[in-house]
Symmetry: C2
Subunit: 169 residues, 2 copies
Amino acid sequence: MGETGTRTRDAVDDFLDQWAALRSDLDLEAMGAVGRLLRLTRLVEKEVGRYFAEHGMERWEFDVLATLRRSDRPLTPKELAGSVMVSSAALTNRIDRLAARNLVARETVPGDRRSLHITLTDAGRALVDDTVEGHVRNERRMLARLDEKDCDELNRLLRMLLTTMEGDA
Amino acid sequence: MGETGTRTRDAVDDFLDQWAALRSDLDLEAMGAVGRLLRLTRLVEKEVGRYFAEHGMERWEFDVLATLRRSDRPLTPKELAGSVMVSSAALTNRIDRLAARNLVARETVPGDRRSLHITLTDAGRALVDDTVEGHVRNERRMLARLDEKDCDELNRLLRMLLTTMEGDA
DNA sequence: ACGTAATCATTCGACGTCGAACTATCTCTC
DNA sequence: GAGAGATAGTTCGACGTCGAATGATTACGT
Protein backbone atom coordinates (compact mmCIF):
# COMPACT_ATOMS: atom_id res chain seq x y z
CA MET A 1 0.00 0.00 0.00
CA GLY A 2 0.85 3.63 -0.12
CA GLU A 3 3.17 3.56 -3.10
CA THR A 4 2.54 7.21 -3.83
CA GLY A 5 6.03 8.20 -4.83
CA THR A 6 5.90 10.99 -2.30
CA ARG A 7 8.68 9.48 -0.25
CA THR A 8 11.11 9.51 -3.13
CA ARG A 9 14.01 11.89 -2.69
CA ASP A 10 15.50 13.99 -5.42
CA ALA A 11 18.91 15.59 -5.79
CA VAL A 12 17.65 18.77 -4.18
CA ASP A 13 16.74 16.93 -0.99
CA ASP A 14 20.38 15.98 -0.55
CA PHE A 15 21.34 19.51 -1.41
CA LEU A 16 19.05 20.84 1.34
CA ASP A 17 20.23 18.36 3.93
CA GLN A 18 23.78 19.52 3.42
CA TRP A 19 22.84 23.14 3.89
CA ALA A 20 20.72 22.35 6.93
CA ALA A 21 23.68 20.71 8.60
CA LEU A 22 25.80 23.81 8.12
CA ARG A 23 23.43 26.72 8.40
CA SER A 24 20.24 25.95 10.29
CA ASP A 25 19.04 29.52 9.77
CA LEU A 26 18.40 29.19 6.03
CA ASP A 27 14.95 29.00 4.45
CA LEU A 28 14.94 25.47 3.06
CA GLU A 29 11.49 25.70 1.51
CA ALA A 30 12.48 28.64 -0.66
CA MET A 31 15.87 27.16 -1.59
CA GLY A 32 14.19 23.91 -2.48
CA ALA A 33 11.50 25.42 -4.67
CA VAL A 34 13.87 27.64 -6.62
CA GLY A 35 16.51 24.96 -6.85
CA ARG A 36 14.01 22.47 -8.21
CA LEU A 37 12.62 24.99 -10.64
CA LEU A 38 16.02 25.74 -12.15
CA ARG A 39 17.16 22.15 -12.16
CA LEU A 40 13.96 20.77 -13.62
CA THR A 41 13.90 23.38 -16.34
CA ARG A 42 17.40 22.45 -17.42
CA LEU A 43 16.32 18.84 -17.83
CA VAL A 44 13.11 19.78 -19.62
CA GLU A 45 15.01 22.04 -22.00
CA LYS A 46 17.42 19.24 -22.76
CA GLU A 47 14.60 16.83 -23.50
CA VAL A 48 12.71 19.34 -25.65
CA GLY A 49 15.92 20.02 -27.55
CA ARG A 50 16.38 16.32 -28.07
CA TYR A 51 12.92 16.02 -29.60
CA PHE A 52 13.45 18.82 -32.07
CA ALA A 53 16.92 17.63 -33.00
CA GLU A 54 15.34 14.29 -33.79
CA HIS A 55 13.04 16.10 -36.18
CA GLY A 56 15.76 18.07 -37.91
CA MET A 57 15.23 21.42 -36.32
CA GLU A 58 16.26 23.42 -33.27
CA ARG A 59 14.16 24.68 -30.45
CA TRP A 60 14.70 28.36 -31.14
CA GLU A 61 13.35 27.85 -34.65
CA PHE A 62 10.18 26.35 -33.29
CA ASP A 63 9.87 29.09 -30.71
CA VAL A 64 9.85 31.82 -33.34
CA LEU A 65 7.78 29.97 -35.90
CA ALA A 66 5.19 28.88 -33.35
CA THR A 67 4.87 32.40 -31.99
CA LEU A 68 4.09 33.63 -35.47
CA ARG A 69 1.78 30.72 -36.13
CA ARG A 70 -0.45 31.26 -33.14
CA SER A 71 -0.70 35.00 -33.67
CA ASP A 72 -3.52 36.10 -35.92
CA ARG A 73 -1.62 39.17 -37.11
CA PRO A 74 1.92 39.85 -38.35
CA LEU A 75 4.41 40.54 -35.58
CA THR A 76 7.32 42.93 -35.47
CA PRO A 77 10.80 41.83 -34.40
CA LYS A 78 10.32 43.70 -31.15
CA GLU A 79 7.12 41.83 -30.36
CA LEU A 80 8.75 38.55 -31.27
CA ALA A 81 11.76 39.25 -29.09
CA GLY A 82 9.46 39.94 -26.16
CA SER A 83 7.48 36.78 -26.72
CA VAL A 84 10.43 34.44 -26.88
CA MET A 85 12.35 36.44 -24.27
CA VAL A 86 15.57 37.12 -26.12
CA SER A 87 17.36 40.33 -27.01
CA SER A 88 16.54 42.15 -30.22
CA ALA A 89 20.06 41.38 -31.38
CA ALA A 90 19.47 37.67 -31.00
CA LEU A 91 16.18 37.96 -32.83
CA THR A 92 17.73 39.68 -35.83
CA ASN A 93 20.07 36.74 -36.06
CA ARG A 94 17.22 34.24 -35.83
CA ILE A 95 15.15 35.99 -38.49
CA ASP A 96 18.19 36.05 -40.76
CA ARG A 97 18.56 32.32 -40.60
CA LEU A 98 14.85 31.54 -40.83
CA ALA A 99 14.52 33.84 -43.82
CA ALA A 100 17.50 32.18 -45.47
CA ARG A 101 15.61 28.89 -45.26
CA ASN A 102 12.44 30.51 -46.58
CA LEU A 103 10.48 29.85 -43.42
CA VAL A 104 9.70 33.51 -42.69
CA ALA A 105 9.72 36.73 -44.69
CA ARG A 106 10.42 40.35 -43.82
CA GLU A 107 7.74 42.77 -45.03
CA THR A 108 7.57 46.52 -44.72
CA VAL A 109 4.85 47.89 -42.49
CA PRO A 110 2.72 50.62 -44.14
CA GLY A 111 2.61 53.27 -41.45
CA ASP A 112 6.13 53.03 -40.02
CA ARG A 113 9.28 52.62 -42.03
CA ARG A 114 11.39 51.86 -38.98
CA SER A 115 9.61 48.62 -38.29
CA LEU A 116 8.97 45.30 -40.00
CA HIS A 117 6.33 42.65 -40.25
CA ILE A 118 7.63 39.13 -39.97
CA THR A 119 5.33 36.69 -41.68
CA LEU A 120 5.27 32.92 -41.95
CA THR A 121 5.78 31.41 -45.36
CA ASP A 122 3.74 28.37 -46.40
CA ALA A 123 6.78 26.22 -45.68
CA GLY A 124 7.13 27.78 -42.25
CA ARG A 125 3.51 27.22 -41.36
CA ALA A 126 3.67 23.64 -42.57
CA LEU A 127 6.77 22.98 -40.50
CA VAL A 128 5.11 24.20 -37.31
CA ASP A 129 1.94 22.27 -37.93
CA ASP A 130 3.90 19.11 -38.58
CA THR A 131 5.98 19.29 -35.42
CA VAL A 132 3.73 20.87 -32.82
CA GLU A 133 1.65 17.77 -32.21
CA GLY A 134 4.60 15.54 -31.41
CA HIS A 135 6.15 18.27 -29.33
CA VAL A 136 3.07 18.56 -27.14
CA ARG A 137 2.87 14.78 -26.86
CA ASN A 138 6.44 14.85 -25.62
CA GLU A 139 5.56 17.52 -23.07
CA ARG A 140 2.69 15.40 -21.83
CA ARG A 141 5.00 12.44 -21.53
CA MET A 142 7.34 14.43 -19.29
CA LEU A 143 4.41 15.24 -17.01
CA ALA A 144 3.15 11.68 -16.98
CA ARG A 145 3.78 11.27 -13.27
CA LEU A 146 1.20 13.96 -12.50
CA ASP A 147 -2.47 13.09 -12.52
CA GLU A 148 -4.99 15.62 -13.76
CA LYS A 149 -5.52 17.20 -10.38
CA ASP A 150 -1.81 17.62 -9.74
CA CYS A 151 -1.31 19.08 -13.19
CA ASP A 152 -4.03 21.65 -12.52
CA GLU A 153 -2.43 22.45 -9.22
CA LEU A 154 0.99 22.90 -10.78
CA ASN A 155 -0.46 25.26 -13.37
CA ARG A 156 -2.18 27.24 -10.65
CA LEU A 157 0.98 27.65 -8.59
CA LEU A 158 3.18 28.52 -11.54
CA ARG A 159 0.61 31.01 -12.78
CA MET A 160 0.65 32.78 -9.43
CA LEU A 161 4.42 33.11 -9.49
CA LEU A 162 4.49 34.09 -13.12
CA THR A 163 1.97 36.90 -12.74
CA THR A 164 3.92 38.47 -9.91
CA MET A 165 7.25 38.27 -11.69
CA GLU A 166 5.82 39.42 -15.00
CA GLY A 167 4.16 42.29 -13.23
CA ASP A 168 7.06 44.05 -11.56
CA ALA A 169 9.47 43.42 -14.42
CA MET B 1 -13.87 38.63 0.19
CA GLY B 2 -12.54 36.30 -2.48
CA GLU B 3 -9.44 38.25 -3.43
CA THR B 4 -7.51 35.06 -4.04
CA GLY B 5 -5.60 36.05 -7.14
CA THR B 6 -6.69 32.83 -8.77
CA ARG B 7 -8.56 34.66 -11.48
CA THR B 8 -5.47 36.51 -12.66
CA ARG B 9 -4.28 35.57 -16.12
CA ASP B 10 -0.67 35.28 -17.12
CA ALA B 11 1.04 35.50 -20.52
CA VAL B 12 0.73 31.76 -20.97
CA ASP B 13 -3.05 31.93 -20.73
CA ASP B 14 -3.10 34.16 -23.79
CA PHE B 15 -0.64 31.83 -25.44
CA LEU B 16 -2.95 28.88 -24.81
CA ASP B 17 -6.08 30.67 -26.01
CA GLN B 18 -4.39 31.37 -29.30
CA TRP B 19 -3.46 27.75 -29.79
CA ALA B 20 -6.92 26.56 -28.74
CA ALA B 21 -8.50 28.69 -31.42
CA LEU B 22 -6.31 27.12 -34.10
CA ARG B 23 -5.79 23.55 -33.00
CA SER B 24 -8.44 22.25 -30.63
CA ASP B 25 -6.70 18.88 -30.51
CA LEU B 26 -3.68 20.04 -28.52
CA ASP B 27 -3.05 19.24 -24.86
CA LEU B 28 -3.33 22.64 -23.26
CA GLU B 29 -2.56 21.46 -19.74
CA ALA B 30 0.80 20.08 -20.78
CA MET B 31 1.68 23.06 -22.96
CA GLY B 32 0.74 25.40 -20.15
CA ALA B 33 2.75 23.65 -17.47
CA VAL B 34 5.90 23.38 -19.56
CA GLY B 35 5.50 26.86 -20.97
CA ARG B 36 5.12 28.34 -17.51
CA LEU B 37 8.06 26.35 -16.22
CA LEU B 38 10.40 27.64 -18.90
CA ARG B 39 9.12 31.18 -18.77
CA LEU B 40 9.17 31.44 -15.00
CA THR B 41 12.66 30.04 -14.81
CA ARG B 42 13.92 32.68 -17.22
CA LEU B 43 12.51 35.40 -14.98
CA VAL B 44 13.86 33.79 -11.83
CA GLU B 45 17.30 33.43 -13.36
CA LYS B 46 17.27 37.07 -14.36
CA GLU B 47 16.33 38.15 -10.84
CA VAL B 48 18.90 35.88 -9.22
CA GLY B 49 21.52 37.26 -11.57
CA ARG B 50 20.50 40.77 -10.64
CA TYR B 51 21.00 40.02 -6.95
CA PHE B 52 24.48 38.63 -7.41
CA ALA B 53 25.51 41.41 -9.77
CA GLU B 54 24.45 43.82 -7.07
CA HIS B 55 26.87 42.05 -4.75
CA GLY B 56 29.78 42.09 -7.14
CA MET B 57 29.70 38.50 -8.29
CA GLU B 58 28.08 36.32 -10.90
CA ARG B 59 25.68 33.46 -10.45
CA TRP B 60 27.99 30.79 -11.84
CA GLU B 61 30.58 31.74 -9.24
CA PHE B 62 28.10 31.23 -6.45
CA ASP B 63 26.92 27.96 -7.97
CA VAL B 64 30.39 26.48 -7.88
CA LEU B 65 31.46 27.96 -4.55
CA ALA B 66 28.22 26.99 -2.83
CA THR B 67 28.45 23.44 -4.13
CA LEU B 68 31.90 23.16 -2.60
CA ARG B 69 30.76 24.84 0.58
CA ARG B 70 27.90 22.48 1.33
CA SER B 71 29.93 19.39 0.57
CA ASP B 72 31.80 17.96 3.51
CA ARG B 73 34.53 16.52 1.32
CA PRO B 74 36.64 17.84 -1.57
CA LEU B 75 34.99 17.45 -4.97
CA THR B 76 36.51 16.62 -8.32
CA PRO B 77 35.81 18.71 -11.44
CA LYS B 78 33.65 15.89 -12.75
CA GLU B 79 31.50 15.87 -9.63
CA LEU B 80 31.22 19.65 -9.72
CA ALA B 81 30.24 19.64 -13.37
CA GLY B 82 27.49 17.16 -12.60
CA SER B 83 26.21 19.17 -9.68
CA VAL B 84 25.96 22.47 -11.50
CA MET B 85 24.92 20.77 -14.76
CA VAL B 86 27.50 22.17 -17.13
CA SER B 87 30.04 20.49 -19.40
CA SER B 88 33.48 19.61 -18.11
CA ALA B 89 34.89 22.16 -20.53
CA ALA B 90 32.81 24.91 -18.98
CA LEU B 91 33.88 23.83 -15.53
CA THR B 92 37.58 23.99 -16.37
CA ASN B 93 37.00 27.56 -17.42
CA ARG B 94 35.14 28.37 -14.20
CA ILE B 95 37.80 26.82 -12.00
CA ASP B 96 40.46 28.77 -13.87
CA ARG B 97 38.79 32.05 -13.08
CA LEU B 98 37.90 31.18 -9.50
CA ALA B 99 41.45 30.03 -8.85
CA ALA B 100 42.82 33.24 -10.39
CA ARG B 101 40.83 35.14 -7.77
CA ASN B 102 42.04 32.82 -5.01
CA LEU B 103 38.56 31.56 -4.21
CA VAL B 104 39.34 27.91 -4.92
CA ALA B 105 42.48 25.80 -5.24
CA ARG B 106 43.41 22.75 -7.29
CA GLU B 107 44.96 19.97 -5.25
CA THR B 108 46.26 16.60 -6.35
CA VAL B 109 44.34 13.56 -5.17
CA PRO B 110 46.54 10.88 -3.56
CA GLY B 111 45.30 7.75 -5.25
CA ASP B 112 44.65 9.03 -8.78
CA ARG B 113 46.92 11.38 -10.69
CA ARG B 114 44.32 11.97 -13.41
CA SER B 115 41.94 13.67 -11.06
CA LEU B 116 41.88 16.76 -8.87
CA HIS B 117 40.40 17.95 -5.64
CA ILE B 118 38.91 21.40 -5.81
CA THR B 119 38.91 23.04 -2.42
CA LEU B 120 37.52 26.28 -1.10
CA THR B 121 39.99 28.85 0.14
CA ASP B 122 39.19 30.87 3.24
CA ALA B 123 38.26 33.78 1.00
CA GLY B 124 35.99 31.54 -1.03
CA ARG B 125 34.22 30.18 2.01
CA ALA B 126 33.79 33.66 3.42
CA LEU B 127 32.31 34.91 0.16
CA VAL B 128 29.69 32.15 0.11
CA ASP B 129 28.77 32.63 3.73
CA ASP B 130 28.39 36.35 3.21
CA THR B 131 26.11 36.10 0.20
CA VAL B 132 24.03 32.99 0.77
CA GLU B 133 21.77 34.53 3.35
CA GLY B 134 20.70 37.44 1.16
CA HIS B 135 20.34 35.14 -1.79
CA VAL B 136 17.92 32.90 0.07
CA ARG B 137 16.02 35.92 1.31
CA ASN B 138 15.67 37.00 -2.29
CA GLU B 139 14.40 33.56 -3.25
CA ARG B 140 11.80 33.74 -0.50
CA ARG B 141 10.74 37.16 -1.72
CA MET B 142 10.11 35.75 -5.19
CA LEU B 143 7.86 33.10 -3.67
CA ALA B 144 6.05 35.59 -1.45
CA ARG B 145 2.72 35.03 -3.18
CA LEU B 146 2.68 31.41 -2.03
CA ASP B 147 1.57 30.59 1.50
CA GLU B 148 3.24 27.76 3.36
CA LYS B 149 0.82 25.13 2.15
CA ASP B 150 1.19 26.16 -1.49
CA CYS B 151 4.95 26.21 -1.16
CA ASP B 152 4.91 22.67 0.18
CA GLU B 153 2.67 21.65 -2.65
CA LEU B 154 4.95 23.21 -5.24
CA ASN B 155 7.93 21.41 -3.80
CA ARG B 156 6.02 18.14 -3.85
CA LEU B 157 5.04 18.49 -7.50
CA LEU B 158 8.46 19.62 -8.67
CA ARG B 159 10.08 16.79 -6.74
CA MET B 160 7.90 14.26 -8.52
CA LEU B 161 8.85 15.62 -11.93
CA LEU B 162 12.49 15.95 -10.99
CA THR B 163 12.84 12.37 -9.79
CA THR B 164 11.41 10.98 -13.02
CA MET B 165 13.58 13.12 -15.25
CA GLU B 166 16.69 12.58 -13.17
CA GLY B 167 16.01 8.88 -13.22
CA ASP B 168 15.88 8.08 -16.93
CA ALA B 169 18.66 10.53 -17.82
C1' DA C 1 7.92 74.24 -38.48
C1' DC C 2 12.03 72.93 -36.17
C1' DG C 3 14.99 70.57 -33.32
C1' DT C 4 15.20 67.24 -29.57
C1' DA C 5 14.02 63.00 -27.72
C1' DA C 6 12.24 58.47 -28.35
C1' DT C 7 11.78 54.20 -31.02
C1' DC C 8 13.03 50.44 -34.16
C1' DA C 9 16.11 47.20 -36.28
C1' DT C 10 20.78 46.11 -37.08
C1' DT C 11 25.76 45.70 -36.32
C1' DC C 12 29.73 45.05 -33.43
C1' DG C 13 32.82 43.13 -29.88
C1' DA C 14 33.04 40.33 -25.96
C1' DC C 15 31.77 36.40 -23.48
C1' DG C 16 30.38 31.63 -21.91
C1' DT C 17 29.10 27.19 -23.29
C1' DC C 18 29.22 23.04 -25.91
C1' DG C 19 30.99 18.80 -28.43
C1' DA C 20 34.99 16.83 -30.15
C1' DA C 21 39.77 16.03 -30.18
C1' DC C 22 43.80 15.43 -27.18
C1' DT C 23 47.01 14.04 -23.38
C1' DA C 24 47.80 11.64 -19.34
C1' DT C 25 46.66 8.12 -16.23
C1' DC C 26 44.40 4.09 -14.54
C1' DT C 27 42.05 -0.66 -15.02
C1' DC C 28 41.30 -4.90 -16.67
C1' DT C 29 42.38 -8.99 -19.11
C1' DC C 30 45.21 -12.44 -20.88
C1' DG D 1 53.65 -7.36 -17.00
C1' DA D 2 52.11 -5.64 -21.48
C1' DG D 3 48.58 -3.82 -24.35
C1' DA D 4 43.62 -2.38 -25.11
C1' DG D 5 40.11 0.22 -23.48
C1' DA D 6 38.11 3.33 -20.07
C1' DT D 7 38.36 7.57 -17.52
C1' DA D 8 39.82 12.49 -16.00
C1' DG D 9 40.79 17.02 -17.14
C1' DT D 10 42.12 20.30 -20.62
C1' DT D 11 42.28 22.55 -25.16
C1' DC D 12 40.23 23.94 -29.43
C1' DG D 13 36.91 25.77 -32.83
C1' DA D 14 32.29 26.98 -33.56
C1' DC D 15 28.16 28.95 -32.11
C1' DG D 16 24.43 31.88 -29.93
C1' DT D 17 23.47 35.47 -26.92
C1' DC D 18 24.00 39.84 -24.76
C1' DG D 19 24.80 45.03 -24.00
C1' DA D 20 26.23 48.93 -26.23
C1' DA D 21 26.68 51.66 -30.17
C1' DT D 22 24.83 52.94 -34.82
C1' DG D 23 21.69 54.57 -38.44
C1' DA D 24 17.22 55.48 -39.85
C1' DT D 25 12.66 57.09 -38.87
C1' DT D 26 8.92 58.98 -36.12
C1' DA D 27 6.77 61.69 -32.16
C1' DC D 28 6.76 65.51 -29.28
C1' DG D 29 7.33 70.19 -27.27
C1' DT D 30 7.39 75.08 -27.91
